[in-house]
Amino acid sequence: MTARIGVITFPGSLDDTDAQRAIRLAGAEPVALWHGSHDLEGVDALVLPGGFSYGDYLRAGAIAARAPIMAEVKDAAERGMPILGICNGFQMLVEAHLLPGGLIRNAHQQFIRRDQRLRVENASTAWTSQFEVGQEITIPLKNADGGYICSAETLKQIEGDGLVAFRYVGVNPNGSLDDIAGVTNARGNVVGLMPHPEHAVEAGFGPNTPDAMRSGVDGLAFFTSALAAVTTAAA
């Protein structure tokens, strides 16, 4: 069985084809899905890609989070389907209340693009099982609204329950609370992060590493993790 991983395209999505490519390189079959549909086409996992859906009007991800297909996405999340939100997709997941907290304008007010070091804090989710806790990875980051915030009460809860999936290392690029780069839900099937794993999946097209320019492929393990989760679930 080849795992089928859907990528939902919203008006203003930018990295949907990159996510499809990453899925293919990880050994799964990418399935292009459309925001206006109510059909997940029987996929085994889902990626909500990066971009600027609806021009970030109202709040980043807010309008896309209320797209027709999001009803099915919420049902799928409830059933335990692996769902990854990248950048704008992460913003949609918090707007849809599938993940805790919120994302606001970067503290320095600037759009930022950099190869970002992260520390894996939770390697038990559907999207991080191929990492090890404490492992440091580098993947590209590019956003204007990446500041992770939540109430003091929520922060205490997500830190206490191990729901912080990734933390920024070296530089906190946007003023996120506790250097939080990504979070998971309690079940571990829904994960969101601001940096872009799909841009670090093929040597020659990834972030720079000490070994060679653009040779970073740390993002691939997100997608092979999902593949492992789907294969385990089917077994």
Binding site: L58, I104, N106, A107, G147, S151
Partner: protein, 81 residues
């Protein structure tokens, strides 16, 4: 036709990067005495009638769509003729 105005502000305890940038600019321009600036949003909803049912609907819309309770508060809903 009546207009219903909804005002939304970032939560007081959370950082408002836009307001902070404007406060910095004011100070730089010599407008002293402003210790803080916070920037919110104003929504103007044009309606046929501003009856109780419409206001109740606006309250729901304001809480569930126009604002995100995690990061913002609805600070006012007002009918303007």
């Amino acid at each position: 036709m009546p207009t219903i105005v909804v005002d939304v502000m970032p939560k007081a305890e959370l950082l408002d990067p836009q307001g902070k940038a404007v406060a910095g600019a004011l100070d730089r321009l010599g407008h002293t005495g402003f210790s803080g600036v916070r920037i919110g949003k104003r929504f103007e909803l044009t309606v046929d009638t501003a009856d109780e049912a419409t206001l109740a609907a606006v309250k729901t819309i304001a809480d569930e769509i126009l604002s995100n309770a995690v990061i913002e508060d609805v600070v006012g809903i007002e009918v303007v003729e």
